[in-house]
Symmetry: C2
Subunit: 211 residues, 2 copies
DNA sequence: ACCTGAACACCGTTCAAGT
DNA sequence: ACCTGAACACCGTTCAAGT
């Protein structure tokens, strides 16, 4: 069967789930596609171009319609949660996405939705754009951390031991008091908490500028 | 001269400024140190261990004392700005830092300072920890983007042309209206805007829980 | 203890040659 | 047009052997 860009991307995403971004190589991909090593370079200029196509595929159909009759802050939380889900749908999805510089179609659609929604809430275009950046930074960075800790060996046991060893009662009293929350045992609650924080910030900066 | 861990880290950071994280290799580092290729492995278990030592060196002396008599939100902004400066001090500093899983001494000191400051503002330990996470995610993600765009060839001219080509008046009216703010021509103003947003969110969530 | 020499098992990318 | 075969110029890491 002849290769197509879509097929290469689909197989590459499956391979990503299997081996992780670190070990995703063009040679393993060629094996998975049952072709020789240089074949994919006829369809993609470089590995980077393939990774960007994969990143955009991750976001496919992301903001397919907003729920009607909701206030703007609910909508913003909804879109942010959908972005998180899209990034979580594949191993290392967040790092894959943040490695893309190119303006990708689905990423633009996401941005347009979020900026439009915030403009509807009363922000001017600059404030809406920068607030979208802040929200997106938050989502991507959170999911990056989430996926890194999920990939730890031993379910993170060794990491927790190292953390305990590094924490000193004299120098880190507050971190020790928060020790059980540092290990991030509730990623979704953790995510929602920070998301509500950022949205509350958007709300208060909007109220300040329109009052 | 014999190698020391500190000397290896210092030369590695200079090499990082010169070639960027992508092209920082153990072989180039050995050349810069004027030793043969495997020598650094006597001092660092792996490249990853070296990168983590470099990341911690980046944060050296980061929160060396807080200004006295300031309200908590000023202090939080101060610490966040110092983190940004530390990450900006070396090429790809933000990506270097976000690639570290290990609990590094200077990173812990930063976290202790920020959590303590927020506890002082009236947050409980969990809220203070998660707010610190949100702030840190924001700073690291913002500086990552900042350093990626700063490293673009042509001063980002080609990237701007690609963005204009990708924006469609019918599908991206809001992004087009915000086009001049998308290119991020004022990184510090952009950073401060988002920082104020997150801090305002922390303030409002604190007010909600203490009222 | 600290480093060299040399190898092992990989990489991304290119490109003439085949079909 | 699309892919193979084979090479180029690299990688991180290991480890016996030297000093």
């Amino acid at each position: 069967m002849r290769l197509t860009r879509d097929h290469v991307v689909a197989v590459a995403l499956d391979l990503l789930d299997e081996v992780g971004l670190e070990h995703l190589t063009m040679r393993k991909l060629a094996d998975a596609l049952d072709v020789r090593n240089g074949a994919t370079y006829w369809h993609f200029r470089s590995k980077q171009a393939l990774l960007e196509a994969m990143a955009d595929a991750l976001l496919a159909g992301l903001p397919a319609g907003l729920p009607a009759g909701q206030p703007w802050d609910e909508l913003a939380a909804h879109v942010a949660r959908r972005l998180r889900q899209a990034l979580l749908s594949r191993r290392d999805g967040a790092r894959l996405f943040s490695g893309s510089f190119f303006p990708l179609p689905n990423a633009l659609a996401y941005g347009e939705t979020m900026v439009g929604l915030l403009v509807g809430a009363g922000l001017d275009h600059r404030a809406a754009t920068w607030a979208t950046d802040t929200l997106t930074y938050y989502v991507v960075a959170h999911v990056t951390e989430e996926q890194l800790t999920a990939a730890l060996p031993d379910g993170g046991q060794a990491a927790r031991v190292r953390l305990d060893a590094a924490l000193d009662p004299d120098r880190h009293p507050h971190l020790l008091a928060a020790r059980d929350d540092l290990a991030a045992p509730h990623p979704t609650a953790h995510f929602d908490h920070g998301l509500a924080l950022v949205i509350a910030g958007i709300r208060s900066s909007r109220d300040r500028s329109t009052s």
